[in-house]
């Protein structure tokens, strides 16, 4: 599973797109142009992109409240995403979901989730569909270190293991459950070690190294596609923004964040890819310019998208209700 030039372009482009998207959303939120709860993914790009490089539209992912990065990595249109954050009719959920429930089933993206630990059983179910239908698809369940402590996560891992479901559980350990450090809230020293309880492989990788994530994910996803059952992948990572926009981040220091910035996943990968002659400097510059334009286009699309009528609130509850 060598990284080709095309893959390198895709990986850098997706990570850069997530970064710019999130930084612009932070500004738009601060300017009062986006309402509600917004949780930003910047800093964690290597995890979503390293994993989703192996997936196609027929594969499923479940996400978390910090879902924009997963959407972009899974190919959801940034314009529809931005329109959703703006609450417009052209949003991927017609303005009914917002940031915390953003989804696009047509891309296999089964939703960000406002419930910590809400996604793992759904991912097991999506994998069950793939298994019953024999489609060869896999499901990836993204969850945080906070959700690692939820019963649903353990129930879903056990269920997936006994039914040999094609699912990969990916713990994005950004080291804080909201503001509570993982060292406090988790009795285990490694979340990946919990895989042993379910007789499935458990691996910890550096979530700041997209190549490492890509390689570990490649193995886990291939195993799932072969029908050999689930795996657990723990990616150690760090978010640049607070738990939510407006968070004053009083629970960690600026020095800690600065240290992570030194190893920023985007600049690290750009350098590695140039060293290995997969990308040229011009490629990086061009992609950087392209993604900025994509995000500005997305904002323009969102602003041009019509507002819903109040009574649009009354539709889409049921498929049919007499």
């Amino acid at each position: 599973m060598e990284i080709t030039r095309d893959r390198a372009v895709w990986i850098y482009e997706r990570m850069a797109l997530i970064r710019v998207f999130e930084e612009r959303v932070a500004q738009l939120f601060a300017d009062g142009r986006i309402a509600g709860f917004v949780h930003l993914y910047a800093g964690e790009e290597a995890v979503a992109v390293g994993i989703c490089t192996h997936l196609n539209d027929g594969d499923f992912i479940t996400s978390t409240h910090r879902g924009h990065g997963h959407c972009i990595a899974k190919g959801v249109d940034p314009g529809e995403m931005m329109a959703e954050l703006f609450g417009r009719l052209g949003g991927s959920c017609k303005g009914k979901g917002g940031s915390m429930h953003i989804a696009d089933v047509s891309k296999g993206m089964l939703g960000a989730n406002g419930i910590v630990g809400g996604g793992p059983p759904l991912a097991a179910g999506a994998a069950l569909t793939a298994k019953v239908q024999g489609s060869g698809a896999v499901a990836v369940c993204f969850f945080g270190d906070g959700a690692a402590e939820q019963g649903t996560t353990h129930e879903a891992m056990n269920l997936a293991a006994i039914w040999k479901l094609p699912v990969v559980f990916v713990c994005e350990n950004n080291q804080f459950a909201e503001s509570t450090p993982v060292s406090y809230h988790c009795a285990a020293t490694s979340i990946a070690d919990r895989a042993a309880s379910y007789n499935i492989p458990g691996v910890t990788v550096d979530g700041y190294d997209v190549v490492a994530v890509y390689e570990a994910a490649g193995e886990a996803i291939a195993r799932a596609r072969r029908g050999d059952g689930p795996s657990l992948l723990e990616a150690k990572t760090w978010r640049y923004f607070g738990h939510f926009e407006g968070d004053q981040i009083t629970y960690r220091t600026a020095e800690q964040s600065a240290a992570y910035r030194e190893h920023d996943p985007l600049t690290t990968f750009a350098r590695q890819a140039q060293d290995r002659e997969l990308l040229q400097k011009e490629d990086v510059d061009r992609i950087d310019a392209d993604v900025k334009k994509k995000v500005e286009d997305a904002i323009e699309f969102a602003e041009a998208s019509p507002q819903p009528a109040p009574e649009d609130a009354l539709t889409d509850v049921y498929v049919a209700y007499r």
């Binding site: 499923f60 479940t62 949003g91 991927s92 959920c93 017609k94 303005g95 009914k96 979901g97 429930h101 989804a103 696009d104 089933v105 047509s106 089964l110 939703g111 989730n113 406002g114 419930i115 809400g118 793992p120 059983p121 759904l122 991912a123 097991a124 179910g125 999506a126 069950l128 569909t129 793939a130 019953v132 239908q133 499901a139 019963g151 649903t152 129930e155 879903a156 056990n158 269920l159 006994i162 039914w163 539709t315 889409d316 509850v317 049921y318 498929v319 049919a320 209700y321 007499r322």
Partner: protein, 339 residues
């Protein structure tokens, strides 16, 4: 063409609906604790295993195999959530929540995931899952295995709720629920499982949202739910000897609710009694009375009456439990109070 009709028990009618729908549609599968009861597991040679804790799904694993009749671990959040996820991605799972009282351990997956996905995704997903669950007092099973609680689920937008009262209705409504594209909670009263009734043999579908008039009358309307329909019919029979003609309306589905049938019955009789085994606060009973009070106030000749369980958990002692459940005598008393 004559439709073949046999006498089946409520339990057999449900089993037949499951079996026929599984034959018809390969995307239908069952999951739940003990639904196969370990039958057909290699090395576990109990051919005649449980098939559900009260035998409702007996024989189905032998017929459809372990890939479509899935025993689950005792982890309701895990497998109910998996059923929701599978429904959102193309299957039609029928999950069994053994006793409705267990909703406490899996409500998030029903309420925040199953019921809301379609809405939160702007109508771009559907969740055709059925959750079958047992309800009702009378088994001396006390506080955590005897509640009804369908009112809780009826309160939640995105869910449909079905409470059958006869074997034929159970078959027709379950088949319709499985074919429905929305999440349906299907409530089976455990004291009804041995009740016998005529059931059509072939395909039998009852549209969700259509009430059934189980007995016609013109003096008092009694709306009764699930097992309480029989209480109402018994009361109606004894009241007829007093010259009081009672109409018994069975809503069959609580959401969607057939308001028209209920309102037109009340407009005819001008009197309403609701019989509901669920607890009385924020319940179907209060909801039905509110419906009639707000939409048919000028048609009423008497204040509506409610015959419900008391606002307590279900007690263990047979003496106390028998007091807890509405009886035909209590229904008749409420009917007389409207005259």
């Amino acid at each position: 063409m004559a439709v073949a009709v046999r006498t089946l028990s409520f339990r057999e009618a449900i089993n037949e609906a499951l079996s026929q729908e599984m034959e018809r549609d390969p995307s239908v599968l069952l999951m739940g604790e003990d639904v196969a009861g370990g039958a057909t597991v290699p090395g576990f040679d109990q051919e005649d295993a449980w098939g559900g804790v009260l035998g409702v799904t007996k024989g189905l694993v032998q017929k459809f195999g372990r890939d479509r009749v899935l025993d689950t671990p005792i982890s309701e959040s895990g497998y109910i959530g998996a059923a929701v996820g599978a429904a959102a991605t193309g299957l039609r799972p029928v999950a069994e929540l053994m006793f409705v009282d267990f909703f406490g351990v899996c409500m998030d997956q029903i309420f925040n995931q199953g019921a809301k996905l379609r809405y939160m995704f702007g109508g771009k997903a559907k969740v055709p899952v059925v959750i079958r669950t047992m309800i009702g007092a009378g088994f001396r099973a006390a506080g955590q295995h005897s509640g009804c609680h369908y009112s809780v689920f009826t309160h939640m937008p995105g869910l449909k709720t079905v409470v059958p009262s006869t074997p034929a209705d159970a078959k027709g409504l379950l088949a319709a629920a499985i074919r429905d594209d929305d999440p349906v909670l299907f409530f089976e009263h455990k004291l009804l499982y041995d009740v016998q009734g005529e059931v059509p043999a072939g395909e039998h579908l009852i549209e969700l949202g259509k009430a059934d008039i189980k007995r016609e009358g013109d003096r008092v309307t009694v709306v009764a739910i699930g097992r309480m329909v029989q209480m109402a019919l018994d009361a109606a029979e004894s009241l007829s000897s007093e010259g009081v003609s009672v109409e018994v309306v069975d809503p069959r589905t609580l959401s969607p609710l057939d308001e028209d049938t209920i309102l037109s019955s009340v407009r005819k009789t001008r009197r309403l009694v609701v019989v509901d085994e669920d607890n009385p606060r924020c319940s179907m009973a209060t909801d039905l009375v509110a419906l009639v009070a707000s939409r048919a106030f000028d048609d009423l000749d008497a204040p509506p009456q409610m015959v419900t369980a008391p606002h307590t958990p279900v007690p263990f002692s047979p003496i106390m439990e028998d007091f807890y459940v509405p009886t035909p005598e209590k229904v008749a008393e409420a009917v007389r109070a409207t005259l």
